[in-house]
């Protein structure tokens, strides 16, 4: 689960980059929305990775 979360995070980064490439500076609002969506995906990935870490609690932990 931790690996799944960490794999999702680069997807969020590429979404943010896609916003810069696809939207010209004149379309500031959709550009910002796309970047924020990318960040939201990264946060989702981080939460999944943290949940994966928590699942290890009590199982094989020292």
């Amino acid at each position: 689960m931790k690996f799944a979360g960490l794999l999702v995070m680069p997807a969020g980064f590429f979404l943010a980059i896609a916003a810069l490439v696809l939207f010209p500076p004149s379309q500031a609002a959709p550009r910002a929305a796309f970047v924020l969506c990318g960040l939201a995906v990264e946060v989702l990935g981080l939460v999944v990775a943290l949940r994966g870490h928590m699942e290890g609690k009590g199982k094989g932990r020292p």
């Binding site: 960490l6 970047v35 960040l39 990264e42 870490h53 609690k57 932990r61």
Partner: protein, 442 residues
């Protein structure tokens, strides 16, 4: 479309050379950079104080060794990838834009003595920054991270990961060129290393905790987390004061080097640093007073440092009152996040580095973007945060996960039981003290 990928050899994309520093600015920055290692000393003391007494010597020796290894690794490998101010870089082309993603400095610091003065200063800044970034994860691995593993982590960070982020942010990389390529403010602004030092260090600390696991007895099966307070509040609090001196120097030097702040603006940068730290510690003091009935010394220290970390991003870009607000919010968030990380997510971070440096740095970057009076600056800062979370964190996890296979991070159970000092060094930091058996081992 990608027309060409790395490496362009010889490097073909010199970044724009910023205007030269005046002699006065050069002398000032040099003096400030010579003072800034006080921040390293402060963080080293905080790291040591927040660990246990039976690991104190190993912790402080580890801080020294990590600084040394990081500096050597950066000199031999990292500085080449980080590049220099106005130097060349490797780039690829995508959507009609050049994406300068890797520096192309000379090997083994060749020609350093004849480089332009500001390139030399920039390199000195990066040397101090890489030592700082490498120190941060060591505190999170306290009481169970082996010395050799700490050094290996520092070498990896200094040779491979820090140079990437430093180049992107400081020496003409793609983040610094977001203004030219995508009309985003003045490009990504990281005047004193909130991203390259603190967020990167904080994320590395998170990965170290993930890989090494918690201290034995920290999260007993079926019970709540065991409190394992730091062993020396004097080290912790004196370390905070020491760090302030170094931070002031680092923030002011960074403002001159990376955002070209005029000399007349530097006192405001220093005042902003002071206000951010003061606001943060006042807020943490109040929050812990309300939460626990008495202020908590170690959390107040964490709040102070979080305010300083947030000021690394914002002190050169905002007004004093804004800096105070940034500090206040950092100070409120710090104790709450420390508690959430420990109790809700089972993260055992003795030094609080994940929150102090990781979250504090992210908050500083966001606040600087939101408050800086430049259109598009907020988006530039968000793109940089996306790069740190989306690229740097998975990369660090992959590297550390592989490194753990070669150099196990965690000490043997016996080492944790008798203490890192006796296990790794053969002697304790306080030989006249009796080491009591910990209840959690019964």
């Amino acid at each position: 479309m990608i027309a060409s990928l790395l490496p362009d050899l010889p490097p073909a994309l010199p970044s724009a050379m910023p205007p030269a520093l005046s002699e006065a600015a050069f002398a000032l920055v040099l003096v400030l950079l010579l003072v800034s290692p006080l921040a390293l000393a402060g963080v080293a003391l905080v790291n040591t104080g927040l660990g246990r007494s039976r690991s104190a010597a190993q912790s402080l020796l580890g801080n020294l060794a990590i600084v040394a290894v990081a500096l050597i690794a950066f000199a031999l490998v990292g500085a080449t990838f980080a590049g220099t101010t106005g130097g060349a870089g490797h780039s690829f082309h995508l959507a009609g834009k050049a994406w300068n993603w890797l520096g192309a400095g000379p090997l083994f610091l060749g020609g350093l003595g004849s480089a332009p003065a500001q390139a030399q200063l920039g390199l000195l800044f990066q040397f101090l920054a890489v030592a700082f970034a490498a120190l941060i994860p060591w505190g999170s691995g306290a009481d169970r991270l082996r010395l050799i593993a700490g050094c290996a982590i520092a070498a990896l960070l200094a040779a491979l990961v820090f140079p990437l982020v430093a180049h992107w942010a400081w020496t003409g990389g793609w983040l610094a060129q977001l203004d030219v390529n995508f009309s985003l403010g003045s490009g990504f602004l990281d005047p004193a290393g909130a991203a390259a030092i603190h967020v990167l260090g904080g994320l590395s600390a998170l990965v170290v905790v993930w890989v090494a696991g918690p201290r034995r007895g920290k999260f007993p099966q079926g019970g709540i987390a065991t409190a394992m307070p730091g062993h020396n509040a004097v080290y912790i609090l004196f370390g905070c004061l020491l760090a302030l001196a170094g931070w002031l120097a680092f923030n002011v030097a960074g403002a001159v080097l990376w955002v070209r702040a005029p000399l007349a603006a530097l006192p405001v940068t220093a005042v902003n640093t002071l206000l951010s730290a003061s606001g943060a510690v006042a807020a943490t003091f109040a929050v812990t007073r309300i939460r626990f009935g008495k202020p908590d010394a170690s959390l107040c220290a964490n709040g102070w440092l979080a305010g300083l970390v947030a000021s690394s991003a914002s002190a050169a870009l905002v007004s004093p009152i804004q800096s105070l607000m940034i500090g206040l919010i950092a100070g409120v968030l710090t104790p709450l996040l420390v508690e959430v990380l420990e109790l809700a997510t089972s993260i055992d971070d003795p030094s609080g580095a994940i929150v102090v440096h990781g979250a504090g740095g992210l908050w500083g970057l966001i606040a600087a973007g939101a408050l800086a009076p430049l259109p598009g600056q907020f988006l530039a800062q968000l793109v940089a945060i996306a790069a740190l979370l989306g690229l740097a964190l998975p990369l660090v996890y992959l590297l550390f996960w592989l490194l753990d296979r070669a150099v196990p991070f965690r000490v043997e159970p016996d080492g944790e039981r008798i203490g890192m000092d006796l296990h790794e060094l053969g002697g304790g930091a306080y030989p006249e003290f009796v080491i009591h058996r910990d209840d959690s081992y019964r």
